[in-house]
Amino acid sequence: MRRGGAWAWGFVAPALLLIGFYLAYPTVQTIYLSFMDRRSEHFVGLSNYVRLLTSTAMLTAFRNNLLWLVVFTAGTVGLGLLMAVLTDRVRYEAAAKALIFLPMAISFVGAGVIWKFMYAYQPPGVPQIGLANQVMVMLGQQPRGWLVERPWVNNLALIAVGVWIWTGFAMVVLSAAYKAIPKELLEAARVDGATEWQVFWRISLPVIQSTVAVVATTMIINVLKVFDIVYVMTNGNFGTEVMANRMYKEMFEYQDFGRASAIAVILFLAIVPIMLANIRRFRRQEATR
């Protein structure tokens, strides 16, 4: 016997009102504004989109978002998986995991400062104060300006920060799935003479496949919205622009609400397919509940 009616609406109303005001209405409104001029007064059709898709700044941002998408997702999922498997075997598992997971508790801004310091550059010959360049010097290389060397070094340097923050998350989720694999399954394979490598690729990985997909999805959604790291560390200079940072600039530096909205819509369109896939998966899961 379930109670419903007026009670239920009373329970959900505050949440629905807030979501309606802060998420649903603005989403629709932003789509509308993206077809208007900078002060949202006149209808300009697709011109915001056309200008964005042809501007070099935006094209750099697209390219970088794509680079983030590939490297960041592969990096977090790959390293997370590796650490999930490795930490499963060490004695200080809890402590090791806590340390790897720690950056999740640090703000992106804090992480930005930490890593700017890691990447700090001093001319050759002078003692280095950034660890990254100290390592370079110890390896007999010249110190590099990690955050200014375009187009790849600096973007990869920023992505490394993102990977540093999010790998712990991937590790925790993947490790839970990894632990849930029936141990007999792995033992049986080992008894049959499979190498550890084969056990991992042929058995472990296929079993936790859906969890890997969930983690990868989460990372892709994260990466499309990446903002803080870039904003704090380079503010998009030296060819490191990303979409979210560009949108912030259009909005506050150039006061162009039309174009800012159009960037948001492009971002949204990129996420829609992932969202649909998620809803389908969620439905399937509810059906089997």
Binding site: M1, R2, G4, G5, W7, A8, W9, F11, V12, P14, A15, L16, L18, I19, F21, Y22, L23, P26, T30, A95, A96, A98, I100, F101, L102, P103, M104, A105, S107, F108, V109, G110, G112, K116, F117, M118, P127, Q128, I129, G130, W164, T167, V172, V173, A176, A177, T211, V214, K225, D228, Y231, M251, F257, S261, I263, A264, L267, F268, I271, F282
Partner: protein, 266 residues
């Protein structure tokens, strides 16, 4: 591997405790040659950022922003999640799906229209405005997590409560909430960290003002103006990390459980 992961943070901590000229001249790892040489350690950087850089005010602001912005969404979401799990109403599963769908809408989609309404109504730059915004943004995840947890409670419990004449309200407060402490705790940690660490939402709705700005905002402006003054930056960054990292170590177990509830089941 784990050690490599903490090196950057360790470097930050060590540097924030070194005198300014040392930080600028030599690498932080050099202190480990003579770790007990007390002349190489100082708290001056902390005194400086807390006093002259107005970090103490930002610290307070972060608390003022974060506490209500944590409590409010959890309360609102719990009510809704309870209805989605244990009350009947038309469109129930459909509405829930819509709510969950908003999990992935980029926040960037919402800034322009809301900022317009905020500046017309005077909510821009106020704490109330940012509390409500964080509540709205936090709801999809909070509703999702709580609904999953409530859904796992045994149904007979609520049925017998109703037979004894309890209203949904008392079933919610007397049964569902007390039984959900682990879920509530992990959600609270999540929301707290997310709001405490947020830069974008604060930047948009509070502007760059020092009066109301939280730590993240202050820190990012310090990065802009003190780009190479590492003694200032490292101390400021460490202060901004103090609360979340302490929270993390104290409540790690709940935090991890919350992630698993949100991600693996999802």
């Amino acid at each position: 591997m784990a050690l490599a992961w903490v090196l950057p943070t360790l470097g930050l901590l060590v540097s924030s405790l070194r005198p300014a000229p040392d930080v600028a001249r030599t690498g932080w790892w050099t202190v480990f040659a003579n770790p007990f040489d007390l002349t190489r350690w100082t708290l001056a950087n902390y005194r400086h950022v807390l006093g002259q850089q107005g970090l103490a005010q930002a610290f307070l602001n972060s608390f003022i922003i974060t506490v209500p912005a944590t409590v409010l969404p959890i309360l609102v979401a719990s009510f809704a999640a309870f209805a989605f799990a244990w009350l009947d109403f038309p469109g129930r599963s459909w509405l829930f799906l819509v709510v969950v769908g908003f999990l992935v809408v980029p926040l960037q989609m919402t800034f322009v229209p809301i900022l317009k309404i905020y500046s017309e109504t005077g909510l821009a730059g106020t704490f109330v405005g940012i509390w409500l915004a964080h509540t709205g943004y936090g709801l999809p995840f909070a509703v999702y997590l709580m609904r999953n947890f409530f859904g796992s409670l045994p149904g007979e419990l609520f049925e017998s409560a109703y037979i004894d004449g309890a209203s949904p309200l008392s079933a919610f407060f007397r049964l569902a909430l007390p039984m959900s402490t682990p879920a509530l705790a992990s959600l609270a940690i999540f929301q707290f960290l997310w709001v405490w660490n947020d830069l974008l939402v604060a930047l948009i709705y509070l502007g760059g003002g020092a009066r109301t700005g939280p730590l993240t905002l202050k820190l990012s402006s310090l990065v802009g103006s003190y780009g190479q003054e590492w003694h200032v930056l490292t101390a400021a960054a460490f202060i901004s990390m103090l609360v979340p990292v302490a929270l993390f170590f104290a409540l790690q177990r709940y935090f991890v459980r919350g992630i698993l509830a949100g991600a693996v089941k999802g």
